[in-house]
């Protein structure tokens, strides 16, 4: 099963097995990782699942849709490598993916 690493602002590192086909957001929610809120349950409507994708992985993830990009521009402190984690589908090719979590989703 692919492993996704979530690094929180306080330095906590969680290496989580996430089922292929599930989302990076769901992996965090399932494992009660503070830092991902996911109010809308993954429908790209709330931007509270914001994460920063590690540079090494940015190009390996399918690009964001226009809707996601619009939402991302309005999150707290958006960066070049910002993504909404509910829109990142985990696959075997993404085994080893590393994401950093923002200090706050609000």
């Amino acid at each position: 099963m692919p492993v996704v690493t979530y690094i929180s602002q306080d330095g906590a590192i969680n290496e989580i097995e996430v089922t292929s086909g599930s989302s990076v957001m769901q992996g965090a929610v399932d494992n009660m990782i503070d830092g991902i809120v996911a109010e809308c349950g993954g429908s790209c409507s709330c931007a509270t699942c914001h994460c920063f994708v590690d540079e090494a992985w940015v190009e390996k993830i399918p690009p964001a849709s226009e809707m996601e990009k619009d939402m991302l521009e309005c999150v707290l402190e958006p960066q070049e490598n910002s993504r909404l984690s509910c829109q990142i589908k985990v696959t075997d090719e993404l085994d080893g993916l590393v994401v950093r979590l923002p200090e706050s989703q609000f």
Partner: protein, 409 residues
Amino acid sequence: MTKSCCVIIGASHAGGQLAVSLRQEGWDQKILVIGDEPYLPYNRPPLSKTFLSGEKHVEDLLIRPEAQYEKVDIDFMLGQEVSRIDRTNNLVILDNDTDISYSSLALTTGARVRKLDLPGADLKGVLYLRDISNAEQIQPYIAPGKKAVIVGGGYIGLETAAMLRKLGLEVTVLETADRVLNRVTAPEMSAFYTRIHEEEGVRIVTGAGVTGFAGYNRVREVLCGDSDPFPADLVIIGVGVIPNTELAEEAGLDVDNGICVDGQCRTSDPDIVAAGDCTNHYNAFYQCRLRLESVQNAMDQARVAAATLCGKSNAYNALPWFWSDQYDLKLQIAGLSNGYDEVVLRGDPGAGRKFSAFYFKNDQVIAVDAVNSPQEFMVGKQIISKSLAVDKVMLEDTSVPIKSLLTNA
């Protein structure tokens, strides 16, 4: 000595979140969540969208899988009704007469559909949509060419209409008021949604008061007084919900359009909290008490309630927000528009599928309805929650980026 136990009555969005938040807040005693459905907490919004279409299945709807609750020792009793609460003895009495002792109690009982008590309402094919079993009852009726009549032009009605139309049914929406979404939006929004649905081939009939259902064994027509009846193979009624307050009321707690709670989600008994669709609470933005039917309210109140049970004192003061997906339209709503005195439109609701409506009261933005306009939604939330002043001319001008209204405020 009995080990401390927090019992949570209700296992949907609020109940599930409350249990998880208790652990996150440091509650290390037993947690038992009792739900009357046979499912772990699941996402309700997809029921009128991707679950109805069969794109998602029950396992996909679960907010968290069973294994995750086991990891953190959250216990569930599912498919179990509660008969009453004995506050004197700190007991929850189940409908099989078993008693469960609690040291802390949370009520997250949600709401149930308002039913239409009309002739023919018990015919096969006259259905509601609130939970998985409802959706599973609807699914066998879905086939291209079948006639579906949706009673109620609110969000549930319109979302269901959109999904059934996508699946090839002939769809008619019957709304008693003079426009759809009349309780919650401005006329411009109602007109927009009517236009889109009609473009997609749905028939919208307003001023239509349903008086009954006709058929032999299964429904064949929806009756509207003296008007021509509407042929139907399937009827879905979506005319609102009623908060499940009976347990609270019978236990002597204050109830008034929901279980009354304070800013920390405490009921009139300070040892009992409540969260979600079932509560009536004070909203500081709008300075009134209200009851909200939304995922956001359920989750945010659940977090506050859990903190309260752990001896903390967070206040619930989140800005209400809501979303609805129909066809290729993403509607995101920030705030509550009741009582508005002016609407400023950004974009044209008469053409295309992207625009937003900013609701003002005394020149302050109190709510935003954003259709396929996520930036207007996100910026709108900031404007409302920070009571920022907004230049209406700039707002109306779509060549001005919406984010610049934040820097100019």
